[in-house]
């Protein structure tokens, strides 16, 4: 019994033990339990939104072309950060961004010009602190709308002048993200105008661009300015003084000038600066001075003590001081108002300013050379030499410039095959010529084809004989000596020359008066003698001062021109009285130059000086 009880007890104990073991083993492994309850804000409020790039205060956005819209939103509550956004234009979604910042490009090709509506939906964290909030699956949606104004018209840039400065104006950039307008080469401003205090008138294109607050730069417009640089002009005052002037620059308050005058007559160079309002430079200029003048226009701020002016445009003029004239070569002063000249095979009559009133080939069909041509005192005949038509030697011809008739004197020098350019010749206004060949001297009536007289020269002449014929063809003056000489006065009588008397005169300064064929003038020892040719009468003597030098006589206006060291002196041929003195550049006697008085003008170097 005891044994059985013992066994039963063992079985009970083992069973209990087994149940105990199984129970423990079933639940003996550690199992984590419990959970953390997250405290949340159940009623969050929407955060304030600011934008660092896109102005939220503006209701209108202007699109001016292909344009990048940069945005960077910021939440006022750090627990409600911006998670992303969606952008709509005219109700159509255009962009989705999972960020608080980004860019959107407006393409002109995709956005018609006109009015549109843009909407941005912003997604922020809810800020509740919940698990969903932390996983960004719980958001607050904020919406902002703008009116989009797409304006693709070209932006106008204009200018005006204000108080001597250039003022640029342009269409206004209407978005609120303007940082500044940038004007290329010039500066920047926040206004839609700019006063350029450095512009001096150069040709320039002003490119205007818009710099936005985000650093983007967009081309806005441009304006090309034509050059407006002072161009100096030579001017003559009423009192026959000379100066240089230029138009007043519209930008006179922003510029100054540097001038430089180089006068070749006195080898002096004068330079300096003038302010922008100046328009005149008066230099030490006298009639017929040849000078160079440089005028540099530059900004007023340019340093004067350096060569900075060299980088700015310089306008240069070279000129003779005086009224412009245009004298042709081989000009004869044989009219009161017009001049006669021949060049190549053309004979001209023209005004002193260069205007041609008559031009005609000397001979229509001839292309051969001419030599030693001479116009008659009143320009009615042209005397010259050319090759003979048969090709043998040289012949003389006379052309009536009124009728065009040409008369010849053949076989003057049949053995000489070359034209002699050194021969002396003169012709009267009625077609009687006096001329020479290498061996002979002729007096020939071209119109009537009559050889009035001739003489054989004792020795072949290489240098010209000095002779002149009176305008009416009735008298001849001849001299064969240089220096102070006696000149013989002949009368043409039928077919011979009759010597009437001799006169004393300095070389070449004896001549017939083209307006009075019976008047001769001679110069001897500072005395001009006016002589009636036939019968001989000394009409008057006109005395020059010791420092005076005779220049010429304008027989058409009966005026004599002489000069001294610093003056032009004009006297009456009729009375010898002094008419006028005009200041001239002071020169030493040995530097005196030759001036011509004609029709109340003094001529030199293609410039002239009015004497009235």
């Amino acid at each position: 019994m005891n044994y059985m009880n013992h066994i039963k007890l063992g079985l009970i104990i083992e069973t209990a033990f087994l149940i105990f073991v199984l129970t423990f083993f079933a639940s003996c492994v550690y199992e984590p339990f419990d959970k953390y309850e997250n405290p949340v804000n159940a009623n969050p409020t929407a955060p304030g939104i600011t934008n660092l790039e896109l102005n939220l205060n503006a209701d209108t956005l202007w699109v001016y072309g292909d344009q990048v819209l940069k945005y960077h939103f910021n939440s006022s509550n750090e627990k409600q950060n911006i998670q992303g956004l969606k952008m709509y234009i005219d109700g159509v979604i255009r962009d989705t961004v999972m960020s608080d910042n980004g860019e959107f490009t407006f393409l002109q090709s995709a956005l018609n010009e006109g009015i549109h509506k843009m909407k941005i939906e912003l997604y922020t964290k809810s800020g509740t602190g919940s698990i969903a909030d932390r996983l960004n699956t719980e958001s607050i949606v904020l919406t902002k709308e703008w009116v989009l104004m797409a304006n693709y018209t070209k932006k106008n840039v204009t200018y005006s002048i204000e108080n001597g400065y250039l003022k640029l104006h342009w269409d206004k950039y209407k978005n609120l993200d303007l940082k500044s307008y940038k004007i290329q080469y010039t500066g920047s401003t926040q206004n839609n105008y700019f006063v350029d205090t450095l512009y001096y008138g150069a040709k320039r294109t002003f490119n205007i661009s818009v710099e936005k607050t985000n650093g983007d730069i967009t081309a806005w417009g441009s304006l090309s300015m034509d050059e407006n640089i002072a161009k100096p002009e030579f001017k003559i005052a009423d009192n026959n003084t000379y100066y240089i002037s230029w138009h007043k620059s519209p930008y006179y308050n922003s510029i100054k000038y540097r001038y430089e005058l180089n006068n070749t007559e006195d080898n002096r160079s004068i330079s300096g600066f003038k302010n922008g309002s100046d328009t005149v430079y008066v230099g030490n200029l006298y009639f017929s001075d040849y000078f160079n003048f440089f005028l540099v226009t530059m900004p007023k701020s340019t340093n004067e003590s350096t060569n900075d002016y060299l980088m700015y445009p310089s306008v240069h003029m070279s000129n003779y001081a005086g009224e412009p004239a245009n004298l042709r070569s081989n000009t004869s002063f044989n009219s009161a108002d017009t001049l006669s000249a021949f060049e190549s095979n053309i004979v001209y009559k023209y005004f002193v300013g260069g205007e041609t009133v008559y031009s005609e080939p000397i001979m229509q069909a001839s292309s051969s050379g001419y030599a030693a041509m001479q116009l008659s005192p009143r320009g009615k005949y042209l005397l010259g030499s050319s090759y003979s038509s048969n090709g043998n030697g040289m012949r003389y011809f006379a052309k009536n410039l009124s009728t065009g008739d040409i008369y010849y004197k053949d076989n003057v020098d049949p053995v000489n095959s070359e034209l002699n350019y050194h021969l002396s010749m003169h012709i009267s206004d009625n077609g009687i010529g006096i001329f020479e060949s290498s061996t002979k001297e002729y007096l020939f009536d071209f119109k009537n084809n009559i050889e009035i007289a001739s003489r054989i020269l004792s020795t072949p002449q290489l240098d010209s004989y000095i002779f002149k014929i009176s305008p009416d063809g009735k008298h001849v003056i001849s001299s064969i000596y240089s220096g102070d000489v006696l000149v013989d006065v002949f009368k043409i009588n039928a077919s011979k020359l009759e010597k009437m008397y001799s006169l004393e005169s300095e070389t070449t300064n004896w001549q017939f008066n083209p307006t009075d064929p019976n008047m001769i003038t001679t110069i001897k020892n500072k005395t001009l003698s006016v002589i009636q040719c036939e019968p001989y009468v000394l009409l008057r003597k006109i005395e020059f001062a010791n420092d005076e030098v005779f220049m010429n006589i304008d027989f058409f206006n009966n005026e004599i021109l002489s000069i001294n060291a610093n003056q032009f002196i004009i006297r009456s041929l009729n009375t010898g009285n002094e008419i006028k003195r005009i200041a001239k550049r002071q020169l030493q006697y040995y530097l005196y130059e030759y001036f011509i008085l004609h029709n109340h003008h003094i001529l030199k170097n293609n410039v002239m000086l009015k004497t009235l």
């Binding site: 033990f17 423990f24 492994v29 550690y30 984590p32 419990d34 997250n38 159940a42 919940s130 698990i131």
Partner: protein, 230 residues
Amino acid sequence: MNQKYIILFFLLIVLLNNLSAQNTYFGFDTGYGTYEMTENKQILEGSMKSNVLKPHRISNFPGYLLFRPYLKIEYQYFNLGIAYTLMSTGSRYSIHDYSGEYKFDAQIVGHSAGLFAEVPVSSFKGFKFLIAAESGLIFNKMNLDERLQLTEGYNQQDEYNLTSINIFVKPYLKVEYDIWKNLSANLLMGYHKDIIANKMHLEGDNLSVSDFVADWDGIRTSIGISYSFE
């Protein structure tokens, strides 16, 4: 591998039975153990800090019950035996609100198989005092379970199992009291030390090694009873 351990186990039983055995005992101890799990704590703490949901730590590998059935043969001067010990602990990170729930559970279980030897040192009025030591293998298994559930219907669960094997020693003191002819109670106190603790790898994939380590180091206290098969 497991076959080798089983063969060795039976060979050891046969060998011990051939000694001049006096009694054979079957015993069962249960008690409380503390577990270091240092690396695991650090890894999970670091991981949860970077978790956007910021879950809170609910438990962190606390000490927990252990269970130790064993078979012991008593010889004249000492006892020899084999023992199986079940150890477990774990951690939880959690957050819960109206919008959903998130939790990350790590449960680790150690199955140890060890040989122990006990030497009686004193006896007094039915009490027997012994010093002992146990050493063997621990087969570790750790389950990582991460779950996210939102009230809007979103659910996500990721679960991983990691395993490893440790070698341990456990010296302990033991007091036995004969409460019945064949039944005795005992009280045990010792310290468990993993002398080799390998990094855990994915179950079935020895190449996928993690930084988790089953670190069972800690105090062991237990009470138990044993039954003698005379």
